[in-house]
Amino acid sequence: MTYISKPTVHHPALRKNELGLTRRDYEGAITTLCAGCGHDSITAAIIQAFWELSIAPHKVAKLSGIGCSSKTPAYFLREAHGFNGVHGRMPALVTGANAANRDVIYIGISGDGDSLSIGLGHLCHAIRRNVNVLYVLENNGVYGLTKGQFSASADPGSLSKKGEANTMEAIDGCLLALTLGATFVARSFSGDKGQLVPILKAGLAHNGFAFVDVISPCVTFNDHEGSTKSYAYTREKNVEVVAADFVLPTAAITTAYDPGSVHSVVLHDGSTVRLRKVDDDYDPTDPDRSYTFIRERHKEGEVVTGLLYISPDSSDVHEQNQTVEMPLTKVPYEQLCPGSAELEKLQRGFR
């Protein structure tokens, strides 16, 4: 029942962020997903990321489509506006909302059915437009709410709970995003909060479409032997190639890194993503090599994770369209309506 709210009385010793808020202040209603669902871990990581960044919850809008994953915006940031739209078409809603008010921080939550089947086209075009949104694809390879059909991200040969093998090729959201010119592509695992939180923070700071594919096992329909999206499989096959650290513009850098292994990318707002290459062969700023690398490793049965690609000079849809800095919702009507004298003048051309 998504309308059951959590108690808001907190332990006084809970840590507070710069706004004086505790993590509890970033929570939402109690989850109605199955116990152990990967999506709930992602929700926890999202709460952690917003809390660590000290973003006021009401400055955020959270949008989603339809499906298990799309229910989760109810479970975080209770003081943010939420929009649970139609199946697969959240990218259109967030594109419009962002066009109207570019000052709101947008997070879109989707699933593999939502993003890679029914809404595939919308996802592609939102990536092409580079809409400024943190887009989280909670990927479990299965349709949970309709009880266990394969989704488009299910790998060939992966077995369903009933033992049936998937025969079709999988759509890999990260590879797709790279071919479409995405400016921020990451993959993580719901079971690795340490990896996911910095990625989400970097995605929020990124000026453009931040695509984050999170393998998020479905404990009820896709966590068995033979599935390539189970906890066991993902734990075993997941290979982190780039670890991201997110550094706020104001923060002092305290950790010392071996300079040869660190690549820093300064984002739009002055914050820095420090990418520590775990794999020496990997270059997270070269989209073509990233693409080949992910594909090659996938053939070897590995699930490559980390902040896989980031473009430091990303220009979002507003920059492309040269929209005013002020949100369009805030432009006074007097600046929108040319008035009667101009209408009179204009109509001289209609004679």
Partner: protein
């Protein structure tokens, strides 16, 4: 018999040969002579090569409906010559290019032939194949000027204005006009008995198409987000909006845009963007046609149930399916009234001409925000893409957008509680808030079952409570939509009710029937849900003709569904072949019924 300022002619050419500029030159020249004129562009779904026609009706009384008979045919397309010859009235004229011999089998003894060697003359005067083709079409405008007695100084002025920055083009166009003009004057008795004489009937009027007028309405209403997918015949609406925005919506200092136009990947995304923008607090709209509405249905239901403002322009074309994209129809009346699955009912507005297209566009945004719901504006290809003579548009500078019940951050700060779907005022309209403004304003918009507090529900009573309130809200909008246009005839016991683009044909038909002694009251509805005045009109007449442009009598069905009127009282008059309706369609339909009854 001379027919001064009351005749029609038709120009047959091939698409993409520049005939459009010649045709608009002729239209504008007649208009500037102060004579009421309308033009109907009959064009193919094609860019170059297929036949295209332009019909011009000159009428001193100001009737603007399409007329099916032509006094003069300018037959310049050999591909359609055979058909074009047949459309001239007996005793009429036919102009052709005499560069090539006329097939004797195509001549009619009751039509006068005016052969002008357009190609020969232009080949001799101009070089370059493209210029020769283009100038040939300007030359026929010159010939028409002589034959119809147009004021040549007006043509000269129009060319000077049009090519003010391209003097070379001005000169060649003027030369081509002169070629045609001189030839016609030398070889034929000019002017013909059908001709023009200056009047003063257009002083306070403009020539404009409905899509341009709607776009102006969006501009003046303060719309900032337009999302769309290109489709005939709605494309020119968003393109006009874009060009107006580029002119009026650039920040003078930064040169940045106070608007966002998003060309979406399909109509589904287009309406989704409009809904997203409306939810975030912008005035947002999309322009589309029937196929687009079909695709948008799911999202429309979300906006209805989630109570998000959105404005959807449906420039109707002939359906079903792809249908005839370049022909007009009123085939989406039912589709829009109840779009999407489940129980829905939508506010629909029906302009009849570009002036109403302007005013109704503004009203649409006010209604969408006041009632927090999608609003459809249903025009059609004839209104949207053809040039209409209408009284000048006016604007009241005191106008301010009706943003509806939106709680400000200050109001939220002092409010005790906020519940999104609570009917606190008893008018069916709840309060809403915008994202990014205040923690107390947060709520969840969802297309799934919700209760009056905005919470998810599967409880039948809670669900019905919200659904019933939305119904009350939309029914109340019947009082807020533009009222019907009514014209009463003394002693009339029968009525005629119509919608949108049938207006011109209906008023002309009613005048004609009145002259024959038949008094009929007239009502043109401009909004849905229908108000009490519509029900009263139906109840107070023993017989009501319902005139519309679709096969299935959709307006009549809406009247039957939404009022308690008996079916046998509503006599359907329909025309749906894709051309704009003519008065004779209405007259014939009315007479057929009355003769049957007699």
């Amino acid at each position: 018999m001379d027919r001064v300022n009351q005749f029609a002619f038709k120009i047959a050419t091939a698409n993409g040969t520049g005939s459009a500029s010649a045709n608009s030159l002729i239209m504008q020249a007649i208009f500037r002579m102060g004579i009421p004129v309308t033009g109907k562009n009959v064009f193919p779904s094609n860019i170059q090569g297929l036949p295209t026609w332009y019909e011009i009706r000159v009428d001193k009384h100001g009737y603007t409906a399409r007329t099916p008979t032509f006094d003069l045919m300018v037959a310049l397309n050999p591909a359609t010559y055979q058909k074009d010859v047949q459309e001239v009235r007996s005793g009429g004229w036919l102009m052709y290019d005499s560069t090539w011999p006329l097939d004797a089998r195509l001549t009619r003894p009751d039509v006068a032939y005016l052969g002008i060697p357009l190609a020969d003359m232009c080949n001799a005067r101009f070089s370059g194949s493209r210029e020769r083709i283009l100038m040939k079409n300007i030359a026929y405008a010159g010939a028409l000027a002589a034959l119809l007695g147009m004021d040549t100084s007006i043509i000269r002025a129009l060319l000077t204005e049009k090519y003010s920055r391209k003097p070379a083009l001005k000169d060649s166009n003027q030369q081509a006009v002169d070629l045609g003009f001189e030839y016609a004057r030398k070889h034929f008795p000019c002017p013909l008995p059908i001709h023009l004489e200056a009047m003063d009937k257009t002083t306070d009027s403009i020539l404009i198409d409905g899509n341009t007028a709607s776009a102006l309405g969006c501009l003046y209403a303060g719309a900032t987000v337009g999302a769309w997918y290109p489709i005939t015949p709605a494309t020119s609406l968003m393109e006009a909006f874009k060009s107006f925005c580029q002119k009026f919506r650039r920040d003078p200092e930064t040169k940045r845009n106070r608007f966002a136009i998003l060309q979406a990947e399909d109509e589904i995304a287009a309406v989704g963007m409009v809904i997203g923008a409306g939810w975030a607090g912008a005035r947002a709209f999309t322009s589309t046609a029937g196929p687009g509405i079909s695709l948008m249905n799911e999202f429309i239901g979300l906006a209805y149930y989630g109570e998000v403002p959105a404005v959807i322009f449906d420039v109707q074309r002939a359906g079903p399916s792809t249908g005839m994209p370049t022909r007009t129809q009123q085939g989406d009346l039912m589709l829009c009234a109840y779009a999407s699955h489940g129980d829905t009912r939508h506010i629909c507005l029906y302009p009849a001409d570009p002036r109403e297209a302007f005013e109704i566009a503004v009203a649409a945004f006010d209604l969408a925000e006041r009632f927090q719901t999608p609003v459809f504006v249903l025009s059609d290809l004839d209104i949207g893409m053809n040039d209409w003579m209408i009284p000048k548009l006016t604007w009241n500078d005191a106008y301010r957008p009706d943003r509806g019940k939106v709680l400000s951050p200050e109001e939220l700060e002092t409010a005790r509680t906020f519940h999104r779907y609570l009917d606190s005022d008893g008018d069916g309209i709840p309060y809403r808030t915008l994202p990014g403004e205040h923690p107390k304003g947060a709520y969840f918009t969802r297309g799934s079952g919700h209760n009056r507090y905005g919470g998810y529900t599967e409880d039948g009573d809670e669900y019905a409570d919200v659904l019933d309130r939305i119904d009350r809200k939309i029914q109340r909008a019947a009082r807020a939509v533009p009222p019907p246009i009514v014209r009463t005839a003394p002693g009339a016991t029968i009525g005629l009710l119509t919608v949108g683009g049938c207006h011109a044909a209906c008023v002309e038909a009613l005048d004609q029937l009145a002259r024959e002694g038949l008094a009929i009251d007239y009502m043109r509805v401009r909004g849905f849900p229908f108000g009490d005045d519509v029900a009263r009109f139906l109840a107070s007449h023993e017989l009501v003709f319902v005139v519309e442009q679709n096969r299935d009598a959709q307006l009549r069905s809406l009247l039957m569904l939404e009022t308690d009127t008996n079916a046998d009282k509503l006599e359907s008059v329909r025309y749906y072949a894709g051309f704009p309706m003519s008065a004779h369609h209405v007259v014939a339909g009315v007479k057929a019924k009355l003769e049957r009854a007699a």
